[in-house]
């Protein structure tokens, strides 16, 4: 067998290994992926794409420190490696190091000024830094460069969720749904928007779909548990407080005081009953939800 054929076979084997490891990581089967990674590293100890897969495994295990070390190692060897820099950017944003994330995003954008995706990623950093107008402008700029860029539509939908009362009606979210009806990230955004709009039952249906697709996803498992408690039949009377949040609480207090005082002018016994009913409702809203949560999630 010639040397070039052997090289070709080794490259094909490596590509196959990377593909299998990536698929395992997509399904969050981290232990299995790690065992394949260690086999692959034995033959290719410093291969950049394998190192990135290792960093992905670290991220899935919440080991941000190790993932960051690996990414910095890859970037020190290959300073222009877009995948490693993009992953480091996400990691910096997730760790709240927004100044460093912005610097990295800007340096990447200077090298790739026509990348709609990079504008959107930078916009997400701005949204996290509470720079709402700039985040929206970056999303719009990304969409001007590429009207179908999913990441830009996601950013615009997130801006709508954060800045508007009915984020679930966002035009960007509707476009994303039309473009990618089966995309997990899109469905995740819809669920987030519904939660922020106070539509817990609809959000629970979506969150269950997401959990069914990936039963090991800890985030959606926690969301499903929380929404299961919120939508329990015994909490139906608390709907105004769930729907309107602290605004509902204020209305309850003020409305209660006014109603009791107004009724007291006409019938003091009825006013006394009403004040006990309101007090009972308030106590029920404070005591029952945490007890129910403990009981349902035991």
């Amino acid at each position: 067998m010639s040397e070039s054929t052997a090289d070709h076979d080794a490259a094909a084997t490596l590509a196959d290994q990377r593909h299998r490891i990536s698929e395992l990581l997509d399904r969050r089967r981290v232990a299995h992926a790690r065992s394949l990674l260690s086999q692959a590293f034995a033959a290719h100890p410093d291969e950049a794409e394998l190192l990135l897969l290792g960093a992905r495994a670290d991220l899935l295990d919440d080991d941000h420190h190790s993932a960051r070390r690996t990414l910095e190692h890859v970037i020190s060897r290959e300073p222009d490696h877009l995948g490693a820099r993009a992953m480091l950017l996400s990691l910096l944003a997730a760790d709240g190091e927004l100044v460093a994330a912005e610097q990295l995003a800007l340096s990447m954008l200077r090298e790739h000024p026509q990348s709609a995706w990079l504008y959107a990623v930078y916009g997400r950093v701005m949204l996290q830094a509470l720079q709402f107008p700039k985040a929206r402008e970056l999303a719009q700029e990304a969409l001007r460069l590429d009207p179908h860029e999913d990441e830009a539509l996601r950013l615009l939908a997130l801006c709508d969720v954060v800045e508007r009362r009915r984020g679930a009606d966002s035009a960007a979210l509707q476009r994303l749904l039309a473009q990618n009806p089966d995309d997990r990230q899109t469905l995740g955004l819809v669920v987030t928007a519904l939660i922020h709009d106070g539509q817990s039952s609809a959000a629970l249906r979506g969150a269950r779909e997401l959990l069914r697709a990936d039963p090991n996803d800890a985030h959606w498992l926690a969301v499903v548990k929380a929404l299961t408690v919120d939508t329990h039949w015994s909490l139906k009377p608390l709907w105004p407080l769930q729907r309107f949040g602290w605004g509902g609480s204020i209305a309850l207090w003020l409305g209660g005081i006014v109603a009791v005082r107004a009724l007291a002018q006409a019938d003091s016994a009825a006013a006394s009953v009403l004040s006990w009913v309101i007090l009972g409702y308030v106590l029920y809203s404070w005591v029952w939800p945490p007890l129910l949560k403990r009981w349902l999630l035991r």
């Binding site: 969720v161 800045e163 922020h196 602290w246 207090w253």
Partner: protein, 159 residues
């Protein structure tokens, strides 16, 4: 062909002399501070949150207006004949604690105003899981300071 991208968007917004925005105090802290600490505590928390999220310059006018409106209302209620009449009306409507209920109403409305003013920042903090500051220490401090400042204000306008 796509035209050139906007280079003004590529100017850094964080770092340098600019202070990085931080998560505001939670709505729970705001609600209880306003409820027990009164309008001045509610107004102070709006100012503190505006500073934390990096928009104090924009919101300062609301903070000053709210504080001035409450001082004017207290002066009206406790130091003018029309205010004395209004107080007796409040007592006849809401009982002996009528003026206190009225203060609580103003405090809760101030809190609601702050909630609307910073709703995007509050939602963003929830969405991105930004770390909130400890509301207990600030809440208790605001309640104590709000009550003392409210009493001092009444003492000042009635002396």
């Amino acid at each position: 062909m796509t035209s050139l991208p906007r280079h003004d968007l590529l100017q850094p917004s964080l770092g340098g002399s600019a202070r990085l925005a931080a998560a505001p105090y939670s709505l729970g802290t705001g609600m209880w501070s306003a409820f027990f600490g009164g309008p001045l505590a509610a107004t102070a928390l709006i100012g503190i949150n505006a500073w934390r999220v990096g928009r104090l310059r924009r919101d300062a006018v609301w903070v000053v207006l709210l504080a001035m409106a409450y001082v004017a209302w207290t002066f009206f209620l406790h130091a003018t004949p029309a205010g004395a009449e209004a107080r007796s009306t409040l007592v006849s409507w809401l009982g002996s604690r009528g003026p206190a209920y009225c203060d609580r109403f103003i405090a809760l409305m101030s809190f609601a105003g702050g909630m609307l003013l910073h709703r995007s920042e509050q939602r963003s903090a929830d969405l991105f899981g930004l770390k909130r500051p400890n509301g207990w220490i600030m809440g208790v401090a605001l309640i104590v300071c709000g009550v003392v400042a409210g009493d001092l204000l009444i003492f000042w306008v009635t002396r």
